[in-house]
């Protein structure tokens, strides 16, 4: 089943990163195994003597995936806006994964810088995918400046801890029903991605959990299944939780009862 995000129609609900793989070959195989149709990339300084950027870009181009340039490493709205503009020129896309980091230890997004940059970038015609915390008020303000996509963290980047605050994520889903919500960062297990989808999220963005697995290609496939399972569960409607046990086999007709 297809879905729409940022003006594009996708089948997969798993967005994937391009960093930390043991090799470019494994990266390509893992991306393919994930079924992802969107890959995020960063932008870094390049000296003319090295052409590492060119080699990497050739590999990514050959995947044929939609490119989601990110502003990873930016610490101010000004930096992020400049990087987004540069990404738009290089990749010929108005998509940007907006990251404005506020704390270097947690790599926690700066809510104020993120909001400032999001507003400016939307005014400039970007489709902003903001990496943000799970704070409801921040997310509402991002929506108010025009964001139709939000990417709250599950846990700090690269920790693999899973969804640390399911209540907050559930609240976002309930309060922002028309916004595309993706959990970005912090997942380590396929079950974490499945849980995000079970909460009603529209997708997940992953990198470390796949790239740092012992077998990244196999893990990419596992995440793909988990995302599908979680999405199917949410669409199916889960049974209500109960405190007391309730037998599933009929009581009527039970033999040997007195």
């Amino acid at each position: 089943m297809t879905w729409e995000i940022g003006g594009k129609t996708l089948t997969s609900r798993l967005l994937i990163g391009s960093a930390l793989y043991p090799s470019p070959e494994i990266m390509c195989k893992a991306i393919k195994a994930s079924g992802s149709e969107v890959v995020t990339v960063s932008l870094r300084r390049q000296n003319p003597s090295e052409n590492s950027g060119g080699q990497f870009w050739d590999i990514i181009k050959n995947t044929g995936l939609h490119i989601l340039p990110n502003t990873a490493g930016c610490h101010s709205a000004k930096e992020a806006i400049a990087i987004a503009q540069m990404g738009r020129e290089i990749f010929a896309t108005n998509w940007v994964k907006l990251e404005v980091i506020g704390d270097d230890y947690n790599l926690q997004p700066d809510p104020f810088g993120t909001l400032e940059a999001a507003k400016e970038l939307i005014d400039q015609g970007f489709e902003v995918f903001p990496y943000c915390t799970d704070d409801l008020v921040l997310c509402q303000k991002l929506v108010n400046v025009g964001c139709t996509i939000l990417m709250p963290w599950g846990a700090p980047i690269g920790t693999g801890q899973g969804l640390l605050n399911p209540f907050a994520l559930k609240t976002l889903r309930a309060r922002l029903p028309h916004i595309k919500l993706l959990v970005d960062a912090g997942m380590g297990l396929p079950s974490h991605a499945c849980q995000a989808m079970e909460l009603g999220f529209d997708g997940v963005l992953l990198n470390s959990a796949i790239a740092l697995a012992n077998k990244p290609v196999a893990m990419a496939g596992a995440f793909a299944h988990a995302v599908d399972a979680g999405y199917g569960a949410y669409q199916s409607g889960t049974m209500p939780q109960r405190e007391a046990a309730s037998p599933s086999s009929p009581i009527v007709g039970q033999p040997f009862w007195h």
């Binding site: 391009s18 960093a19 930390l20 990339v41 390049q46 950027g53 000004k78 020129e89």
Partner: protein, 67 residues
Amino acid sequence: MIALFLNGQPKKVAIGSSLAQAIAVWEYTESNFAVAVNQQFVPRSHYHKTVLNDGDHIDVIAPMQGG
């Protein structure tokens, strides 16, 4: 000559050099890069009319792995 910075490294170019001239001197031959001067993005179409000044900080960036 004027002194400026390319990706944080000191460089010198002729007085009155345009960004296009500097990029050529520095031998950026690929097309997959973008440029900012003093943290302001400069579109490729503006390279010729962007004159560099003493102390400018020029960043040339290209695609890289990211998550």
